[in-house]
Point group: C2
Chain length 157, copies 2
């Protein structure tokens, strides 16, 4: 079941982010920051939308997205992550579909996802490609020398 | 003279942004938001660095920049604007040089500037090119349909 995240999902969200294996401590801290703003101000007030995939009472994955300032209908997908044990089970695809549907309903027409060009993120890039995203732009050495920013986009129908 | 902006520059900064002719009301409001954070928390606390070009007591231009989260040494140049009457006087170039020098001193190695691909911003894009920036990436229809994001970058020596 995919629903808007509630306070009780907080611990699992942070654990899933920490255990994803590709995010370092600073990146995980960023999830916590966005999550706290979402809890305090809600999705409208914070601009951050969190959704979770739950099986019974267990939270197995989450996604976080929000509209980019100064655009009309362009959304950033900030995070999408699934519990390591549940990979390849279709939860990531289901979360992506739900996120896109939510963005579309809010007037979203373009989704932007930023990731790294290093080998460590190859699985991540492959996942985006598999759900219809295109690597539209690259900024060389963006994160650090040798670590490019790759910007994936998808036009919502 | 180019110096770190002080409270007394606030009015001029917002007026220059409003009169620049390329920014709409929402974009000008963004300057105000960043400026207020800078005044309250300072450059270190807010992450926004404002510098101004002053002639005597008159503020004729400003620039605003800050390090991008999750990167090592990548800086966003958020704004650079000069009073319409003072265009083509070299103030923009001088502000750009001072901003780059400040970023370099803080460990900056890559500067990123985002702008629009529409004809209205042609002068802006020409200015960036004239001071050594390259249009490294484009995201089609980013701001709105027909209005691309063009990302300029410059490697600091």
């Amino acid at each position: 079941m995919i629903v808007a995240a509630e306070a009780k999902d907080g611990e699992a969200i942070q654990e899933i982010a920490a255990r994803a294996g590709v995010f370092d401590a600073v990146e995980v801290a960023t999830v916590t920051e966005l999550w706290e703003e979402y809890l305090q101000k809600g999705a409208q007030g914070s601009g951050y939308h969190f959704i979770v995939y739950r099986e019974g009472e267990t939270t197995l994955g989450f996604a976080c997205f929000g509209e980019r300032a100064l655009t009309e209908g362009t959304y950033d997908l900030y995070w999408i992550a699934v519990s390591p044990e549940e990979r390849r089970s279709g939860i990531g695809q289901a979360l992506m579909r739900a996120a896109e549907e939510a963005m579309r309903q809010m007037g979203g027409r373009l989704v932007v996802v930023e990731t790294s060009g290093t080998p460590r993120y190859e699985g991540t890039r492959r996942f985006y490609a598999s759900v219809g995203y295109q690597a539209e732009a690259t900024l060389r050495d963006f994160y650090r020398p040798g670590d490019d920013l790759v910007i994936f986009t998808k036009r919502l129908k």
